[in-house]
């Protein structure tokens, strides 16, 4: 003997329409194959228990196969019976027709809200439906849990476990929750008003609460490739519009991102879509498809200084030692962080269009020449001199062929200077540093003379703490007031 089943009313509607035989289109419209199969079994095995048709859920009781057809007919009769409520009044019996189905439960929530909040195309052209008067769809599911409704009931399998300990939990009706309605209304009242986005400071990019500079996660995995270690950062997010014949002004989001695994692999991409979520997904996956590998020096900086340009944007990039940091435009800084470059100096000349900066920078990075390549090009040893190593000549690369040119073999006009060779003859204009305007005034000299007295005090005081253990002078032993933090009031208080 099968137990009784509780199913949502929507599903029961399908059972109801079995008689109508609209199987093909209805199936396609409302249900997937699994639920269809399930409901077919339901329809052959169960019928609705009487008096349960009006509620959200319908209790089905098992039926024998030969009674199925009769059961369906009975259902219809029951339904019609419910539709007619008999009410006795002095003037005679009144029949109130109540519909159990209407547009309200035939349409999805989205469609219903659209009907209420939407503005016509003509209205949109005139600018209606934007700004303060805009009606916002409220998510009515907020504050509600599946299994809990107007009737406060315990449904085993839904909002309570089926077996608790060793006992089967039974369906039970609990006393009604009076405040539920009030709570829901309160939640719904707070919705709809505009609220500014609150971001954790660590999640912020370089544009306040907005997207540029923020991370949008790694690209979506493709089969085996999980994009481990990858992080995508938004460089530019803008709303672009074009006029169309049908809708008029068509609004789309354009997002420009750079992705990288912090270890030399990276790529950038641009994508457009109507919603933020769509454009985010599109662009990061596209960036993940267009990856480049760039060479780094000791995994912290570029191989050498270079100059690049794209459009009218020109960048002079300088190789820097450890600890220098990313001293550059914020877009270049973001790119370097995703690629794994930690120290660099970059000066942009000309327009600072973010897309052009990115393209110029990537061009320069992939056009870098490794030390070995340079040595082979020149057929000379490439030697590194570091000031911290007392300029010890460290041979970084020798020509692979083994043949090194001699002084006679090198022509007179050949460029042997490393920086000149690398920059292809270009020289960055270094602007002269002028003294600050106050340095010419006579008051500055007076200030310097006064400052000279206390210029070394910090070091002296530090040494004093090391050697003596406290700030003291020749008078400290004889006169107790010659100590920092001493006040005559405290002495008086002690005397009292």
């Amino acid at each position: 003997m099968m137990a009784s089943l509780v199913v949502p009313r929507r599903w029961y509607r399908y059972l109801d329409t079995l008689n109508a035989r609209y199987l093909g289109s209805l199936r396609a419209k409302y249900l997937n194959s699994v639920s269809i199969r399930y409901l077919d079994t339901l329809s052959s095995r169960y019928t609705a228990s009487p008096g349960t048709l009006q509620r959200h859920f319908v209790t089905l009781v098992p039926s024998t196969s030969h009674m199925v057809a009769d059961a369906h007919i009975k259902l219809r009769q029951q339904q019609e019976a419910v539709n007619q409520v008999m009410c006795c009044t002095p003037s005679g019996p009144l029949i109130y027709s109540r519909r159990t189905t209407s547009f309200f439960n035939k349409l999805t929530a989205e469609q219903l809200w659209k009907g209420v909040t939407s503005v016509s195309n003509a209205g949109r052209k005139q600018g209606r439906g934007k700004g303060v008067g805009k009606k916002i769809a409220k998510d009515l599911n907020r504050g509600q849990i599946i299994g809990v409704g107007q009737e406060n009931m315990v449904w085993p399998g839904l909002n309570a476990p089926v077996i608790r300990g060793r006992e089967l939990v039974q369906q039970k009706k609990l006393p009604k929750d009076e405040e539920r309605e009030a709570r829901l209304i309160k939640i719904r009242n707070t919705m709809g008003s505009f609220r500014a986005l609150r971001l954790d400071p660590l999640d912020r990019g370089w544009c306040g609460n907005k997207m540029p500079g923020r991370s949008i996660g790694p690209p979506n995995p493709i089969e085996d490739d999980k994009f481990e270690g990858f992080d995508t950062r938004v460089l530019e997010l803008k709303i672009v519009t074009c006029m169309t014949a049908v809708f008029g002004r068509k609004r789309r989001f354009s997002m420009f991102v750079v992705t990288g695994n912090g270890n030399g692999l990276g790529g950038f991409a641009l994508a457009k879509a109507t919603t933020i979520s769509d454009v985010t997904r599109k662009v990061k996956n596209r960036a993940g498809q267009k990856l480049l590998y760039i060479e780094r020096y000791n995994e912290h900086t570029v191989l050498h200084d270079f100059f690049t340009y794209f459009g009218r944007t020109k960048i002079f990039v300088k190789k820097m030692p450890e600890g220098y940091g990313l001293v550059c435009h914020r877009a270049i800084r973001t790119i370097c962080q995703t690629l794994g470059i930690k120290d660099i100096h970059a000066k942009i000349e000309g327009p600072t269009n973010v897309q052009n900066i990115t393209k110029a920078f990537f061009l320069g990075l992939i056009r870098q020449k490794t030390h070995q390549k340079l040595a082979d090009e020149k057929q000379l040893h490439l030697v590194e001199f570091r000031k911290e190593n007392l300029n010890f000549p460290k041979v970084v690369a020798t020509p692979q062929s083994g043949k090194v040119r001699t002084q006679e073999e090198i022509p007179n006009n050949e460029e042997l200077d490393f920086t000149q060779h690398i920059m292809d003859g270009k020289v960055q204009l270094v602007k002269k540093k002028y003294p600050a305007p106050y340095e010419k005034l006579p008051s500055y000299e007076i200030y310097l003379k006064k400052y000279a007295r206390r210029r070394n005090h910090q070091k002296v005081m530090l040494n004093m703490l090391v050697e003596e253990g406290e700030y003291r002078s020749f008078y400290t032993d004889q006169y107790p007031e010659c100590r920092p933090g001493y006040s005559s009031k405290s002495e008086e208080a002690e005397a009292w």
């Binding site: 040893h381 490439l382 030697v383 001199f385």
Partner: protein
């Protein structure tokens, strides 16, 4: 008299190798092994240290590991990006020569001198001006270009005596008028007993020795005390490699050889299979202690192991340990040869 002499000789020969206590009786002053003592009192080490043979040996065993000599030191200076140059073979050779010259400068050994004697040079006695002031007056000659040691510093005491300043006073005045980088007026607390042992336990030998070189003169008794404490600590921990290829390795070996404490050093060098270095140390020993017995034996200078064995037989004070070490080394060599031969036969060569 002859009987007593022969008796003494007899006793000496019995206890020669093992008894460290008796060994110390043979010298003029009593010596503790662990505490610091001024060891250059009886015989002046300077002529021996600066002799050509000794200098060549010390420079040879110090070694020139460029990676260590030119390593980055943490001196809080701002880093600058490296410079690159395209070079021919000749240019590279020239630069390497410059680097070698610089490395020999960096590896210049601090001199080993005996302890300086206190100055007691009174220039004049004027009891007539006793009590003219209740403090001393110090007069320093600040002529530009004079070396610190030649600078005249005199003191007028309150009792009227005009005398040459003591070493401490002169050094203090020199540091005030011509301050040296790295030197402080008051010696840092690092050099006090408890702090010194603490730092040496951490193995910061080079740091302590460099600080001592910067702070003190080489004949300062404080400097001699500190260096001997450090060398003893290094010998105890057998951390000779830490000082290898630094300017302190030479003086370290000289100190150990002077005090006949080279056993541990020889064993550690044998374990690293540096036979030539072992032979060099034995030769150094023969140069310093010209009365040693192994010198009499004529050994081919190229046979390093033979020289070492001669030392072990005649002059060593810990024969057993060294012999064990030599045996172990020979075993290793033999096994390695055997293994190579096996490999060759296996490959059919």
């Amino acid at each position: 008299m002859a009987a007593t002499v022969t008796l003494q000789v007899y006793f000496r020969s019995i206890f020669f190798t093992n008894n460290a206590v008796l060994r110390s009786f043979q010298r003029k002053s009593w010596r503790h092994c662990s505490t610091s003592v001024n060891i250059y009192n009886d015989r002046d080490p300077a002529p021996v240290f600066f002799s050509e043979n000794v200098q060549t040996i010390l420079k040879k065993i110090t070694g020139t590991d460029f990676n260590k000599v030119f390593r980055q030191r943490f001196d809080e200076k701002k880093l600058s990006p490296p410079e690159y140059k395209f070079m021919t073979d000749e240019e590279l050779k020239q630069k390497m020569k410059n680097a070698e010259r610089l490395s020999s400068k960096i590896l210049q050994m601090p001199p080993v001198l005996k302890e300086r004697q206190a100055i007691s040079n009174i220039l004049s006695r004027d009891p007539a001006i006793t009590g003219f002031e209740n403090c001393k007056f110090v007069f320093t000659d600040i002529t530009y270009g004079l070396p610190d040691r030649k600078r005249l510093v005199v003191v007028r005491d309150p009792d009227g005596t005009l005398r040459q300043a003591s070493w401490e006073e002169a050094e203090r005045m020199n540091q005030i008028y011509n301050p040296r980088p790295g030197r402080k007026l008051k010696p840092p607390k690092l050099f006090q007993e408890e702090h010194l042992t603490n730092v040496l336990e951490r193995g910061e030998y080079e740091f302590v020795l460099d600080s001592a070189c910067a702070q003190f003169e080489p004949d300062d008794p404080e400097y001699l005390r500190i260096t001997s404490v450090v060398y003893e600590s290094v010998d105890k921990k057998r951390c000779y490699q830490l000082l290898h290829s630094t300017r302190h390795y030479g003086p370290l070996c000289f100190y150990l050889t002077w005090n006949k404490k080279i056993e541990n050093l020889l064993i550690s060098l044998l374990q690293q299979e540096k036979l030539e270095a072992c032979a060099d140390i034995v030769r150094l020993y023969q140069l310093i202690h010209t009365d040693c017995k192994s010198k009499m034996i004529n050994v081919d200078p190229n046979q390093h192991l033979e020289l070492l064995k001669a030392y072990v037989e005649h002059d060593s004070l810990q024969q057993q340990q060294l012999q064990l070490a030599i045996q172990a080394y020979q075993e290793i060599v033999r096994e390695r040869q055997q293994y190579n031969e096996n490999v060759k036969t296996a490959h059919g060569l």
